[in-house]
Structure formats: structure tokens, C-alpha cells
């Protein structure tokens, strides 16, 4: 496996989505290739950091606007 071939599959590798055979080939390549090891590690870190980005909670006035919007646009119960 070349660096280019490994590079193409790296997200699937760090996500654990590849077959055992492919994983073994990748590990064999990684054994002798420091740039690919570091690339794989930092790619995984990138994904993990994304998961930890804080999300903005809905401000109370936006929630209130949503409620009145839905009330205006929905058919009244008969």
C-alpha cells in the first residue's frame, strides 16, 4: 500500500469502518511511515475535536418566536 492509497481510506480507517484485511495492510504501512502515522493521528483528533465544539442553545426569545410562528401557521383544532 502506498501513502496515496492509505490517504484515500484514512477516515474510514480512523472510524473503524474497514475490513480486517485492509486494516492489517494499513497498519503494515503505518509501521514504517511516520508522516502517515502523524497524519492519521491528527485526522482522528480533528474529528474528535469537532464532536466537542459547543453548540449554541436556543435563546428564550427565539423559542418564543418559534412557538408563536407555529401557532399562527397551524390549523386550529376543530
Amino acid at each position: 500500500m502506498t501513502c496515496r492509497e492509505l490517504f484515500e481510506r484514512l477516515s474510514e480507517y480512523v472510524d473503524g469502518e474497514l475490513s480486517q484485511e485492509l486494516c492489517q495492510e494499513i497498519r503494515k504501512h503505518l509501521d514504517g511511515c511516520d508522516p502517515c502515522v502523524n497524519f492519521a493521528k491528527t485526522l482522528k483528533t480533528t474529528s474528535e475535536l469537532c464532536r466537542r465544539l459547543p453548540s449554541q442553545p436556543i435563546p428564550p426569545e427565539v423559542a418564543a418566536d418559534l412557538r408563536s410562528f407555529l401557532t399562527r401557521h397551524l390549523p386550529k383544532p376543530s
Partner: protein, 213 residues
Amino acid sequence: MTDERALIAASKDGDPAALDALVRTHQNRVYGFAMRMCRNVEDAKDILQETFLGMVRSIREFREESQFSTWLYRIASNACLKKRRRGVHDPTPAQELSLDDLMPRPDAEGRKPEIADWSDDAERALLRGELSARMEAAIDKLPKEYKIVLVLRDVEGLSAEETAQAVGLSVAAVKSRLHRARVFVRRELADYLAESGKTGSRESKSLRVDHTQ
């Protein structure tokens, strides 16, 4: 959480209290997603309203083959992909991110590229509160077809299958876009950490993709 299936069943029968409970349960999630996709409150409000109006109008069509939240992400994703953001020039639609452009290259003498392991530096920068804004900016540089896949998969934590359902793509297409988007954001982080002196030199100045043209 109240039994969501019971709320869904009651909502399908038109129970306004059940619909309201579903809105309240999911409004933070949808708002957070919309804010990340649009980056301004007015646009996020539009997405939020469109999503929940769509939910209320079509809840009878929800067949419970997927998670309810995935179904909502699908409505919200459609709204986001249709939306032209206020005051923002979105990167060219459907622009392909090329793996060849994104892959670090050997130098002129054919030596392997120098790739630093900056995982621990990034972790520390995140804890100091420095990194979030940089990451958000990097994610926002992506063309939105890539951005939405990365946000659903890596930020919101959906599986590849759920993301595929939400954006109406095959799982293979989701994986391909995710990989390109992730490699792009990774390089932005690598460059930021190099520029702020936390790691070695920039990896790939000459290989940067400019999405503003």
C-alpha cells in the same frame, strides 16, 4: 425523556400538547445545527421555523424506520441546502474538493512531507478556549455540500448511514465527502497551530484551496 414514541403517536393524531413537547425536546438540537450551518440568528430562525412547520405538517409520514431526530435533521438539512445565507458568499455549489490537492506532497528532493503530531497541542488550545472559533471558521470555509456532511457526522455525531438518510446521499458519497471535508479542516488546524508557534512549519502553503474565487 417522556416516551418519544407515545408523543409521536399522539402528534400523528393531532394532539397539540404532544406536538409542542416534540418541538421543545428537539428545538435546541435543530437551532444549534442551523446556527452552525448559517452562522447568523435570522437565518437560523428561518431554518428552525421551516423545520418544525415541516415536522408538524408531515409527521403522519414519519414511518419510524429511522430515529425521529434523523428525520428532523433531514428536514433541516433540506432547508439549509436550499437557503442562501444573508450577506455571505457561499463557496461555489457542488465544488469538488480534490484529494490530490489536499494530500501533503513530498518536497522538491522527493523527501516525505513533514507532518507533525499536534494532537496534544490542539487539545490544550481547545481547553484554553482558543481553538473553537478557528475550527468553526475552518468548517465554514467548506462548500456547503461538504460542510453539512461534516457537521452531521462529526459535530452532531450521526452515523454515516443516518447522515446519508438526512442529506439524501449514498453512504459511499457521505464517506467520500466526509473524508475530504475532514482533511480540509485538519489542514486548517495544522496551519493555525504552526502559525501560532505551537508546532513546526506549515504543511502545505502552496496547496491551499481558495474557495472564495
